[in-house]
Amino acid sequence: MAEMTLFHYIHKNTVLHRMDGRLKLACLLLFSLAAGFASEFHDYLVPLSVLFCAILLAKLPFTTLLREMRFFGLIILIVIVVNSFTIPGDPIANSPLAGISQQGVSTGLRFAGRLLIVLLVSMVITGTTPLMKFRDAVEWYLRPVPFVPEARVATMINLTFLLIPVILDSFREMMDAQNSRCVQLRKNPVKRIKFLVFPLIDQTLRRADEIAYAMEARCYSEIRTRTAFKCGKIDWLMLAISLAVFFFVLL
């Protein structure tokens, strides 16, 4: 997991990296809503152009990220193809493939555009925001909500993100260990899953227990130091750009 760049925080000293977490979260929401409301070609073009500029501004390794997005590229392609063939409508003139409709292609491209916007905005946010900042912002937004223990929710978010790479590493190691003992010769898939899932759950629970002990040993408390948020002019400018993109798409 250490080699993965996509959806991982990449430390740089840029305007986007220094931006206030709360405003960044608001930008994430505005871009996601813009993706949902987009319908015309230019509705996609504007947010996508802004996001490309954001990637350049944040000095994120674009080619590496693009390479790691191959899997999502495949999903986007599937979305376009499935929509093109399943949505009824006018056939495309001179098309060598039968069954493709103009409306299908258009709907497929719209879905693909939405997916791409959500992917890019997630990439920018995760690449420029350390988990703690993100967590603090979520905690800040939850503070006025009654009956929601905001500190506990924030800790749960933190631990979940922390444990995912650890669980994936354990999973890979267990797979290798079982392959080295010829598990592939077992034809029953249920048994193979059983050999993998139960030890993985067991190990994850043990690790969770250890982490809980380690946190307690360091005086874990829900009454913690509160982050001092700082909002500069540039932060507000970023929010204004996001608002402009949102209203452009909406109107």
Binding site: A2, H11, A214, R218, T225
Partner: protein, 249 residues
Amino acid sequence: MPILETRDLTHVFPDGTVAIEDIDLKVNEGEFLVIAGPNGSGKTVLARHLNGLLKPTRGQVFLNGEPISKNIIEARKNVGLVFQDPESQIVGQTVAEDVAFGPENLNLPVAQVEMVVKESLAAVGLSQLATRSPHALSGGEKRKLAIAGILAMKPKIIIFDEPFTGLDYPGVVQVLKEILRLHKTGHTILLITHELEKVLAHADRLVIMHKGRLVADGKPESVIYRVEEYGVRMPLRDGEKVEALTWLK
């Protein structure tokens, strides 16, 4: 008065397994104590009682003469525990975030948290790696990060649970130097290990645990000849003295 003391300390797990039984141990301020014993002898369970992570079935732990159950937070602040697996201690996404976890729990002001984090990272020589992901560190660096996380709480006593496990030679040397530096700066050190050859030369006292009981306690040169009776490898070769038991040249 000892800084840390256990009286009649006993822990029985819910399934009836006796992990430790009737442990009476006194640790003096500034002492370097090595606790040795084979696997399953109760060393880790004892360590987890010393800062109140586990509740004893019987007996008590005293810090500066006061039962730790009276003020568990004070006990955890004063008795730092560096876990055997440093991975389980890491909760931050960056090195600095992880070190800040403890002081933030203590609700210190932001400026003070930042200062303590800087000091702790500088103390273990990790300042340059403050923005790195902890999972990208080497074994020795991870252990140092775990130590920095504990140092940020300003403890007087530091317990190291098997600090050399899984480390290569340079890693052991790195960690050992760090432990000795902490001892020199006035910390009381309790080090749990069965690898006596790496550290015993620096210890003031050696305690042996066997089947949950404290079976030997004294100066390393007097206890060392009994270790094999209790399942710990005798590290001295013919003619060698305890002073030879270190991986530092």
